[in-house]
Amino acid sequence: MAIARVGSSEKVYSPNKRSKRNAYLLLAPGLLWLLLFFVFPLLNLAETSTKTPSPTFETGEFVQSFRFANFIDAFLANQAQFYRSFTYALAATIIALAIAYPLAYSIAFRSGAWKNFLLILVIAPFFTSFLLRTLAWKQILGAEGPVVFILKFLGILPDGATITATAFSVILGLTYNFLPFMTLPIYASLDRLDYRLIEASGDLYANGATTFRKVTLPLSMPGVVAGTLLTFIPASGDYINAQLLGSPDNFMIGNVINSRFFRVVDYPTAAALSFTLMTTILILVIIYIRRSGTDELV
């Protein structure tokens, strides 16, 4: 910049201006996309959320009456499902982390020539629809399926007990479906980790556990944070797992929003619930990122 100032004033600022303009031009498609597919629908949703049914109660007809109490009503009527969504999502996130971290660690550090093959195995489930995979679990864990049969035969599961249609199978489904989202970011941050740092830790007389706690884990935190977010956020809005693997007693907030939109055709309640869900997730995520101190890394 200081060197550029030697030239004429026109020449000093034009490259700067142009690069700014170029930056906006390059950003334009993305911004336009966000505007069209995020901001507008969001405004539409906001507008819908304060409507009330038309005086004739005709299906799908609503009038704008700025009834903000919709939010309170919708929340109070569905507290249980909200609470359940976050509990299930949290449980699934913790279990997925417990499975994914050792998995990612061994792929990154211990797999040798098998590395790429193992990575493909992690991604392989994505080659089939996640609906089909969840349905497969429904069959495997079904009341007349192989797992229940064996567990009953061994006397582990009492007669009359089932695995599907319980909270257990919903959390299992969530964990299974989002496991790759947890594994890949952790793998990525472990793989980038400079192995010499771990060696240095050993040279400084840290044992394995201390090295992990003081070196490996802190350096892989960006991956852990990204992985937990990529699991927790979609899991708390998910409804497929609860629908296929749960009973009405295991339904999550996503099921309610789905049924309000597509069955009762009660758009205002559905919109209010969607907004509440989005806001709650946003707040939780902000707190989480602040707490984990990795805001610049995510």
Partner: protein
């Protein structure tokens, strides 16, 4: 179904206005007001209800959205074929896309609603909603008026179905099949006939029972169990009692899931031992190798009909009408009924059935006798407000 509004005018504009009034005030209250409303309506000029802008008839393949296990089937070289449909295709040269897209009335309606409103093609020419939903389609102008000239078999419809409250004279809809909602069970796993709700919700089947997400069937059966006549006016308190009963059975863990027509999958894989389900489903699944039983509850089951309507967005009207006509040929209707085992809406089909299978011609589930009909009721028409509130309560009860 038993409501008589025979004096209703033919003009669709007038009728939809009247129907809107009916839905608003409740069927009974409206009966007296019909004359006055008709007078008012006939004075009005073109209103938005006179949806004159239907698509041009372009012909082509008829796309028909129907329910699961609702058409006679035969495996040919490992592929599923529909013999009665193939006859139509051979005779007329009109192609038909038969699409099993109905799992639940609400679900289907919600999927196409926005397009109907906007007048965009919904992807189907013929749809097959149940009575109460058919009433909504017709009321909102989402069904095209049928041209009788293309349906010479129209007169074959059973007298009991020819003049119904939501479509007097059958100008917009023709019955596809009728049926009962009652108890179904897997005979391989259940060794008794289930005849009452107490049996259905007994310890033996706890957690292995499923009920229909069709409110009128599930709640209709519970209401009758509680001694309420569902064909007549009942109070909101009575309805909510039935909702509480359902909620209790769900939270106590008796009911595993609340489902649409896909409850058949859960019966097939054994997750469900017993269900509140639909009559014909049990019999047609038995043709496929299952061993299911069906009974109408002692306290009363429900009777419903599904109707063929041509969607307002269809650009394939006359071919669709020809297809509807085809299924009102008694021989064809008997062929369908012999497979689906639902109540056949076509006169003369019973005689044709004698030729196919004399025992089926005696089946009270296909050609019901007075005794069978005395055990079932049709859920009364709900006003739009009731429909919104009741459906809201029902959805909340089933956890969503």
């Amino acid at each position: 179904m038993s409501n008589d509004f025979r004096e209703m005018p033919k003009d669709p504009k007038t009728r939809s206005l009247i129907n809107a009034q009916i839905s608003r005030r409740g069927l009974l209250a409206a009966a007296g007001g019909v004359g006055a409303v008709a007078l008012l309506a006939s004075c009005g000029s073109d209103s938005e209800i006179a949806a004159g802008s239907f698509p041009e008839d372009e012909g082509g393949t008829v796309r028909w959205a129907n329910w699961t296990a609702y058409m006679d089937q035969k495996r040919v070289d490992g592929e599923r074929t529909y013999p009665s449909l193939n006859k139509f295709i051979e005779q007329t040269g009109i192609d038909v896309d038969y699409l099993v897209k109905y799992n639940d009335n609400d679900e289907f309606y919600a999927q196409v609603q926005e397009k109907l409103k906007a007048g965009d093609d919904i992807g189907y020419d013929i749809v097959t909603p149940t009575d109460w939903m058919a009433a909504r389609w017709i009321r909102l102008g989402y069904a095209r008026e049928l041209d009788s000239a293309n349906i010479p078999n129209k007169g074959n419809i059973l007298d009991t179905l020819s003049d119904i409250s939501f479509d007097p004279g059958r100008n917009y809809s023709m019955t596809w099949q009728s049926g009962f909602a009652g108890f179904g069970w897997n005979k391989d796993l259940v060794d008794e006939d289930i005849l009452s709700l107490d049996q259905l919700f007994s310890e033996k089947y706890k957690g292995r029972v499923m009920v229909l997400s069709e409110m009128r069937d599930t709640i209709g059966i519970i209401l009758q169990y509680q001694g309420v006549d569902i064909s007549k006016q009942f109070s909101e308190d009575q309805f909510m009692n039935a909702i509480d009963f359902l909620k209790q059975k769900i939270s106590d863990g008796y009911i595993r899931q609340v489902k649409g027509n896909d409850y058949l999958e859960d019966m097939a894989n054994g997750d469900a031992l017993a269900v509140i389900g639909w009559s014909g489903d049990m019999f047609s699944e038995n043709l496929g190798g299952q061993n299911y039983g069906f009974a109408i509850p002692e306290s009363g089951g429900t009777l419903w009909s599904d109707n063929m309507l041509i969607a307002s967005t269809s650009s394939n009207k006359s071919n669709s009408e020809k297809l509807i006509n085809h299924y009102y040929d008694p021989a064809i209707a008997a062929e369908v009924a012999a497979w689906v085992n639902y109540i056949c809406p076509v006169k003369g089909a019973q005689e044709e059935m004698e030729k196919i299978d004399p025992t089926l011609a005696e089946s009270p589930f296909i050609f019901p006798d007075a005794e069978t009909l005395s055990k079932v009721q049709v859920f009364r028409g709900l006003s739009a407000e009731e429909e919104f509130n009741y459906s809201d309560a029902f959805q909340e009860a089933i956890g969503a």
